[in-house]
Symmetry: C2
Subunit: 413 residues, 2 copies
């Protein structure tokens, strides 16, 4: 597909200058983007209104319309976050390792940009700006492909960003938007080997799965979180109630929200009624196995429930007889995002943290902390649920790779 190949060529060309751009120039570009977004509010809001209008006439749900909607306040927040990214340390150029070999060769392992990153996402116009800013700071050119529902908003913000960086002397093609939102174009992007170094999908399980199945370029899988909280038999019940309530209800639509409660049968009779009472405050629907249903009056869980990321005020409840059984249940149904144990037993905590195969494993804390900001990394471009390259929050350091530079004076082997 000629259109996508052209974008790839332009990105590669822009990459050759961006990769060696100074930190100062990149920060100036981010400052210029932030200012231009503020100055361009009316233009952005007008474009966003068109998207909202067609969303409404296509019967888009309230929650999706809310994700799509921009306001002066939201644009200010986004512009602020671009400045936050400018303030983060530059991940490029750091010498990560080095040695002088016996033959006198000096070897350095240096952090360099990944190259060109493609980001495929849904109808959240803030992602356009977040992703562009993170890629720019880390020296990567970016090709953004957002959902058609946000195309006018995305065009407006992409154009503003491109003009802003071009005005301060960077190639505008450091940031490119795929303006053609059909599926064929997205598929062509997924197969653009030789131009795309990494593809990061951001969105629901359907999008992620489509990318994993179709992409031939390297992918970082993100964001599907069937997160579990296991209440061990020695748990502090008040702590368990608080953490479960927080992890389930503080923001149910996000990937680090808890979806499944696993509980030791020795504590179930004492803990489940208290947990249910608290979750009832937010009308959380529970789906439990037979044992749980003998203790509290909830709907039956099906096999499907164990593997479901509800992203809603719903939660499954599984009863187990040991921490080992809990770990096996979690490793079977988890998506590898975040899991927590509530316990006061040292050995249970050790086993759980050692044997649960997820990116983030918690003892006595809410799964909601899996987040670049909460971990102290600054902004993030997503949460990786795969094992290759990046795991957990993907911040600026994860948007780099390494290069070996070897200096000699005539060495041969």
């Amino acid at each position: 597909m000629e259109y996508i190949v052209e974008l790839g060529k332009k990105a590669k060309k822009a990459q050759s200058t961006l990769a060696s751009a100074s930190t100062a120039l990149k920060n100036d570009a981010l400052t210029a983007i932030s200012a231009a977004l503020r100055a361009g509010k009316n233009e952005i809001l007008a474009a966003n209104a068109m998207d909202l209008e067609s969303g409404k006439s296509n019967g888009m749900s309230e929650s999706l319309l809310d994700r799509l909607a921009l306001s002066e306040k939201r644009i200010d927040d986004i512009a602020d976050s671009v400045l936050d990214i400018a303030a983060l340390p530059d991940p490029v150029g750091r010498v990560k390792d080095g040695s002088v070999r016996p033959n006198g060769l000096s070897i350095e392992k240096i952090a360099v940009p990944l190259g060109t990153i493609a980001v495929i996402f849904e109808a959240r116009p803030n992602v356009t700006i977040d992703a562009a800013a993170l890629c720019l700071k880390s020296g990567n050119t970016v090709i953004l492909r957002g959902g058609k529902e946000a195309i006018n908003s995305n065009k407006a913000t992409a154009n503003i960003m491109r003009k802003a960086i071009s005005d301060i002397g960077l190639d505008e093609n450091c940031i490119q938007l795929v303006e053609n939102t059909d599926r064929e174009t997205a598929n062509a992007l997924m197969k653009l080997n030789g131009y795309i170094d990494v593809l990061i999908p951001r969105g629901g399980a359907g999008l992620i799965n489509s990318v994993v199945q179709n992409a031939t370029v390297p992918v970082i899988e993100t964001g599907v979180g069937n997160c579990h909280i296991y209440v061990d038999k020695t748990a502090d019940i008040d702590m368990a109630v608080n953490i479960i309530f927080n992890a389930k209800t503080s923001r149910p639509s996000v990937c680090n929200a808890a979806e499944s409660l696993v509980i030791h049968r020795d504590i179930a009779a004492a803990a489940l009624p208290a947990i249910k009472l608290k979750l009832d405050e937010k009308n959380v629907e529970l789906y439990g196995d037979e044992e749980a249903r003998k203790i509290i009056d909830i709907a039956p869980a099906t096999e499907e429930d164990w593997g479901t990321e509800y992203l809603d005020y719903k939660m499954s409840v599984k009863t187990v007889g040991s921490v080992e059984e809990a770990i096996e249940h979690i490793n079977t149904y988890s998506t590898g995002h975040s899991e927590a144990i509530i316990t006061s037993d040292y050995n249970s905590a050790q086993k759980f943290t050692q044997l649960v195969n997820s990116s983030a494993v918690y003892v006595n804390a809410s799964t909601r902390f899996t987040d670049g900001g909460q971990f102290g990394f600054g902004a993030e471009i997503g949460i990786s649920t795969q094992r290759l390259h990046a795991r957990g929050p993907i911040g600026l350091p994860e948007l780099t790779t390494t290069k070996f530079v070897i200096r000699g004076n005539g060495q041969i082997r």
Copy 2:
């Protein structure tokens, strides 16, 4: 495909114990493997003789037969290399980063095994053992799929290794061989999401490309090396001659051998005759552009030559007018493996190391050094030419990923 899914399930089950195996147990397993290979020489050689027999009757070339052939000496060397791997530091469990957050959460980033690694390779029976040993040491279960030409040798060595680790108490399915060598089975392995965490192809460009095009599991691309040597106008000609001769002829069949000479036109008249004279000792065939052919009597290069990894006593010759032009030529045709500049000019060296986009960039040294052993990393499972996860030699540390372990006392967000 039921057969492959079964292997995946067994690997996943074995992984749950191997991931938490002590360094001592893993080293004992490697020592047992090494001893068992020595003790099983006759069995291995008998199986290898069957492979060699059918290779000969199928008209396999001498060089392929040589790669396929084992001998008592080769088995001893392989058994020694398994002990070398046992002697390397265990990459698992290292705390790579950590902090205590303002809310009291303690966060550790810990090196953990990747999980299950699949390795698809061609007719080199030593890869079966190398890959199994490296995966075992790094706590990964492995599924090996070698070429049908080596199936008897691979079955013999895999069985010996499986029995050896089972005898000391590890699950034999830490090491599995795909005994069915048809293409459908290999394709099913490439799509075994949920069981395979990483797939590493080892072999020629055809194999690598087939994996990149077909795999839906995460892949580390390895080993295709269209390596360049650029002779800058300020190069020491003697040094250039030595390095080019070494990089081209010391082992032409390997991926870090040089394939293309790029030369500044200001030094071409003085340097090319000397370079050709030296390469003539090994009858290296040169393919040059018009300018080079005015200086030395060589065959014309076609566009295809610039992108060809000959793996033979052949080399292309490209004339350029500046280091920038050399860099652009290299970044256009390189496979991202290893490139070298020969220069005595500081600015040329800086530009070249900063702007050439390859895993390993050399100043005044042979590209042949791109190798785990030469870099001081010990053994390697391949040379990554992609940018995600690992770049350059893939040693034990690159066969791990990380996990965040977060300990709290009731924190909610």
